[in-house]
Amino acid sequence: CKGADSGSMIEGLDTSKLIGEYTKELAGAKLNVFNWGEYISDGSEGSLDVNAAFEKLTGIDVNYSNYDTNEALYTKLSGGGASYDIIVPSDYMIERLINEGMVQKPDLSKIPNYKYIPEEFKNLYFDKNNEYSIPYTNGMVGLIYNKTMVEEAPKSWSSLWDSKYSGKILMFNNSRDSFGIALYLLGIDVNTASQAQWEACAEKLKEQKQYLQRYVMDEVFDLMESGEAALAPYYAGDCISMIENNPDLALVYPNEGTNIFVDSFCIPKSTQNVEAALLYINFMLEPEIALANAEFICYACPHTAVLADERYSLRDNEALYPKKKVKAEYFHNLDRDTLDLLARLWEDVKLY
């Protein structure tokens, strides 16, 4: 993982190991890549700088920028001010983007490395025919806690409502994930369309607010690693990074069930540079590159070559690849009214 020594094993890029062909044909083109924060091996602390490698190989100019929630991605994309060539939305957001006609169908023949995608990650509900998205990472939301501060491994999301840990609890700073947790806790279908049920969740979240230290997204790393907070729900991959940095931390999947997600590459309709985008995606799926990214990001990697690779240090990680079946569901896209309701309720919660 990033920051850990394991990352340094891939020092440079041996181009002979690449499978696709990378020429300077498109040199000078600009490629706007819009990805999650710290979601690519970026050269820090001795890891491989994937974007730099790609630029060097193809002469394409990569503008790499970040978002921190699917909703922020959606806003930027639909705002119209900027155009992106590659985005990495999660499942339910892909569904929404497809529904709203904002992404295009990539020509898979230009992505020979698509063959590494395992079958179980094909034909998922949001892209039934594998027309729009190419999986990049996947994972589940877990509950990370600090063993020195929490005596017994929590089994339920309800520990996030436990007054014992008042002031030491963190919560997702995005509506879908926060409400998701409340929904699991209340035993409601996570894709419900019932206003009453959403409102019940909002009440639950408001109730939680008194115990919260703060709402976080990626700030969670520092807070958990330094022992500033005791409990937080977060994406398993990131939890593994944290645990590596602070062995007092541990991860559990609560009994009520949790969210499973896939983050996939998509190409927006508005792109100006399909060829370069396809090339980039193919590059990202190169076994060597995928391995570097998997090591760096620590998320589970839907890539057969990586999973088979002995160098992959996380291959046997219980949290990433649990042997025991974890009760997990995908989020689905919600209809417009529900989305508006959700946005309003979320503001309500935050304003509360």
Partner: protein, 273 residues
């Protein structure tokens, strides 16, 4: 000065500098945490020079600040002269009121309003990507302009209205008179305006945040997206370097200034003023 005034000042200075001290200290942290000091190391300074995104953002920021301040100084000086020449009071005061808007308006409203305009125009023109260097530049020029205008205008007011006439009297055309006589007398105002514009532009986050696109990120925007994740000490290292540079520059300025003052004082006493 009394002792309690001194203590009071010292406390305020401590307050103002506490975060900067933290920043400098943690830039030498050997771990990547900005919360716990693990050990001393200068590796982050090395990281800094390897980080293409930081260096690129730094370059972008400086280029943007330079361009926007130069352009706003040109437009602003011209505008100040124009406003100064205006005879009709209502026109003058309404232009000045409009000029004040970007200063009085919260940055977020300015940023949002410009973004709305850019996006709207972009959509009308069928452009897929409006937000970028161009929009940033326009936004920066716009919020710089009032500062330039308001530092040039008072200088114009202070200059003798007859200077330009005197030059014409001696054979200049009105145009030449402006460049030969008026412009040199308002240079201090122009320089002040430039410095203000440059620093404001360097440091602007909010307006840039709304008007920038993916291809042109400035340092503040990069820092913002970093603080959303995890701030690594390399950015502290950069800030510490900037701090040191500013400190040194100001010290040099201060010393030369007080030297010049002493010199002129000596000169004066010598000449028997």
């Amino acid at each position: 000065m009394k002792i309690h005034s001194k203590i009071y000042m010292a406390l305020i200075m401590l307050f103002l500098y506490a975060p900067i001290i933290v920043m400098v200290v943690f830039s030498f942290n050997s771990s990547n945490s900005t919360g716990v000091m693990v050990g001393f190391s200068i590796k982050w300074y090395g990281e800094l020079f390897n980080s293409s995104s930081i260096l690129n953002a730094l370059k972008n920021t400086i280029v943007l600040a330079l361009c926007s301040s130069v352009i706003s100084v040109i437009i602003g000086t011209l505008a100040a002269v124009g406003i100064f020449m205006l005879k009709r009071k209502w026109l003058k005061s309404s232009i000045l009121t409009v000029t004040n808007i970007p200063m009085m308006n919260p940055d977020i409203v300015t940023g949002v309003s410009m973004m709305l305009l850019f996006v709207f125009v972009g959509q009308m023109l069928g452009m897929r990507e409006v937000l970028g260097f161009g929009t940033l530049l326009i936004a920066h020029i716009t919020f710089n302009l009032p500062y330039v205008i308001l530092s040039v205008l008072p200088k114009l007011r202070q200059t003798d209205p007859h200077l330009s006439e005197a030059a014409q009297d001696l054979g200049c055309t009105p145009f030449k008179a402006f460049f030969k006589v008026v412009l040199p007398t308002i240079t201090t105002g122009i320089v002040t305006g430039f410095i203000m514009a440059f620093t404001l532009s360097l440091d602007d986050f909010i307006i840039s945040y709304f008007t920038s696109g993916p291809e042109y990120q400035t340092l503040p925007i990069l820092i913002f997206s970093m603080t959303k994740r995890r701030v690594t000490p390399d950015i502290y290292a950069l800030s510490s370097l900037i701090f040191v540079v500013i400190l040194v520059l100001l010290l040099i300025m201060n010393i030369t200034q007080s030297r010049a003052e002493n010199k002129s004082k000596k000169l004066r006493t010598k000449e028997g003023y």
